[in-house]
């Protein structure tokens, strides 16, 4: 019944939100529904992706909410870039749900799934929306779900990690809201496309201030140094499926917001160079910090920040190749790091240390193999997806003549290789305690999907080339964006 019930980008946000609010009622009917409903929701959203994304590659879908045309009304912009991220988020949501089916045992499960769906809905809303205040609201939905999920487990230090996150997250939201207020006072509009056209009404000094506010606000959520103090605690405190989502979804949504807002509203060379430098600093410091970590989740968290740094460094080049490389790095990281978090949790539990990996190669051969695969992909060994993403980053840097950046990236790759190979070595070369328990099928299935993604991109990097090129063009072509949104 396509006429009666047309698919629209709104469903990305509406379906998970509706399911989240229905879940407490459904839970009263039957406990088993709690586990099924999120999976069905994510499946439905994936179906929406399958139908709409090919259309978005042809021409962006611009959805007006409640029939109010922009700039007065709120619009959703479902272009190649937003579509790519929305589809990625839904897929990760589904995989994490599949994994949680058997691996997530801590009650209350209904609340866990409510927050999970709100997190995915909020992050998807952030990439879809064309209204800057709407962006703020979705960012807060994401953030509040993330705070609660960080402190979800009622164990020793979880509440503290959640409180740290909430403290710095609230600062971020206050900064973003202040920036929005200042922009509104000068331009009288909140629509991103309309703002982009009216930015010349804002004095240059004010523009710099607002850019700073947005950089700090979104940078906190995107784990850019020096604003990422919350991340290692939050990643190690949250249940592992949630850590995978933090790396794959919340950070990516904030990065997308930062990239979109910067390119649309602050396209001066200085802002881009600043972002690039921040990315490199983040990369170096995080990788060095990761080298010292004993706790595997903290190690992965620092590695995660490093990957974000790599993506931002490429993004700041502000060329088509640079944005292409940044997108590739983000997608690669979302898949690989998600898989690593889930694998480590399945292998060694919630407080996994390096020692916990000892001798796992013999006891849990499949999981060990998956961890090795993920580690190699993050380092960038061929023929895995990470190789191509890192190669595209380096190519983009080479084309703009930034050979110092290439040197830095290669140097950090050695550091990265050192700590990931050390962890992999523990799997196969050390003797460990006898293992207990078998890994359930649903967890293996979820991990296998991600592993298949890594191998697929690794062997057929051409298959996502079109998607990434379209996404990069979509992000850089601001004239097309503003015209598309404001055409009527």
């Amino acid at each position: 019944m396509p006429e009666l019930f047309p698919l629209s980008p709104v469903h990305y946000v509406a379906a998970p939100l509706l399911a989240a609010f229905l879940l407490p009622l459904v839970a009263k009917l039957s406990r088993s529904f709690i586990k099924i409903l999120p999976g069905l929701t994510f499946l439905y959203v994936l179906y929406v992706s399958a139908v709409l994304y090919p259309q978005a590659l042809q021409a962006p879908i611009i959805e007006q909410i409640a029939g109010w045309a922009p700039p007065l009304g709120i619009n959703l912009y479902y272009g190649p870039m937003a579509g790519l991220f929305a589809s990625l988020f839904s897929a990760l949501g589904f995989i994490v749900w599949l994994y949680s089916l058997t691996q997530m045992k801590q009650e209350p499960l209904d609340r866990f799934y409510i927050l999970l769906m709100m997190l995915v809905a909020g992050a998807t809303g952030m990439v879809l929306t064309g209204d800057i205040f709407n962006l703020f609201v979705f960012m807060e939905i994401t953030a509040i779900s993330a705070y609660s999920l960080t402190a979800f487990l009622r164990e020793d230090d979880k509440a503290e990690a959640g409180f740290k996150y909430i403290l710095i997250g609230s600062l971020a939201s206050a900064f973003v809201l202040l920036g929005i207020a200042i922009l509104y006072s000068y331009t009288g509009t909140l629509n991103l496309a309309d703002l982009a056209l009216n930015m010349d009404k804002v004095p240059l000094s004010v523009r710099v201030i607002v850019f700073g506010l947005f950089l700090v606000g979104f940078g906190i959520e995107a784990e850019i140094f020096p604003l990422n103090g919350w991340a290692p605690d939050a990643y190690s405190a949250a249940p592992a499926p949630v850590s995978a989502l933090f790396a794959g979804i919340t950070v990516k949504a904030a990065l997308y917001a930062l990239a979109r807002v910067t390119i649309l509203l602050f396209p001066f060379a200085g802002s881009m160079a600043l972002i690039s430098i921040l990315g490199l600093v983040t990369l170096v410091i995080s990788e060095l910090a990761a080298l010292h970590q004993k706790n595997l989740f903290r190690m992965l968290a620092y590695s995660s920040m490093g990957q974000v740094g790599l993506a931002i460094a490429a993004l700041g080049l502000f060329t088509a190749e640079g944005v292409y490389a940044a997108l590739f790095a983000m997608i690669n990281h979302a898949i690989v790091k998600g898989m690593l978090f889930l694998t480590v949790f399945a292998m060694a539990g919630g407080s996994a240390t390096l020692d916990g990996l000892n001798g796992m190669g013999r006891k849990k051969p499949i999981l060990s193999l998956l961890f090795t695969l993920g580690a190699f992909a993050i380092i960038g060994l061929p023929p895995f997806s990470g190789f191509w993403s890192k190669l595209s980053v380096l190519t983009a840097m080479g084309q703009t003549g930034n050979y110092a950046m290439i040197a830095i990236v290669l140097a950090t790759t050695i550091v990265e290789a050192a700590y990931f190979l050390r962890a992999t070595g523990r799997l196969y070369l050390s003797e460990g305690n006898p293992a207990e328990g078998k890994t359930p099928l649903s967890a293996i299935a979820a991990l296998a999907v991600l592993a298949a993604g890594i191998l697929w991109i690794g062997f057929f990097p051409g298959s996502i080339d079109e998607t990434l090129t379209a996404g990069a063009q979509d992000l850089l072509d601001t004239a097309k964006y503003t015209e598309g949104v404001l055409k009527d």
């Binding site: 807060e140 509040i144 705070y147 020793d156 230090d157 509440a159 990690a161 959640g162 609230s170 509104y184």
Partner: protein
């Protein structure tokens, strides 16, 4: 102008509390103050002295005699968000207190950065 200065002042007081105070509850109050300052600023942006509600209720009433309704709508939304954040923060404070029996962040080692 006075409104802008006042709202920035409220924000700075909140920021001061967040950065300097050692009591968890006071930190949460600081967060709320920062939010409140931003909200005041937003409302001040749309305010016109002697302006009325943006409804065409009387003949001869024009748009420039009305208070801008958009910031007010934004503030309503932002207040709700601020409430949710404060509620989550206080819930976490309760859990931290139950575990450590203190609200002093100097005595809770896991809260150090």
């Amino acid at each position: 102008m006075i409104y802008y200065i006042a709202s920035i002042a409220v924000m700075l007081i909140g920021l001061y509390a967040v950065l300097v105070k050692k009591n968890l509850i006071k930190i949460v109050i600081g967060l709320s103050l920062m939010d409140a300052g931003t909200h005041l600023l937003l409302v001040a942006i749309g305010f016109i002295k002697g302006g009325t509600a943006p409804i065409f209720s009387e003949p001869g009433l024009t748009a420039d005699a009305m208070v801008d309704p958009v910031p007010q709508a934004l503030v309503l939304t932002a207040i709700v968000i601020g409430l949710a954040v404060t509620a989550v923060a206080l819930a976490l404070v309760i859990r931290i207190y139950a575990q450590h029996k203190t609200l002093d962040i100097r005595k809770i080692s896991s809260l150090k950065w």
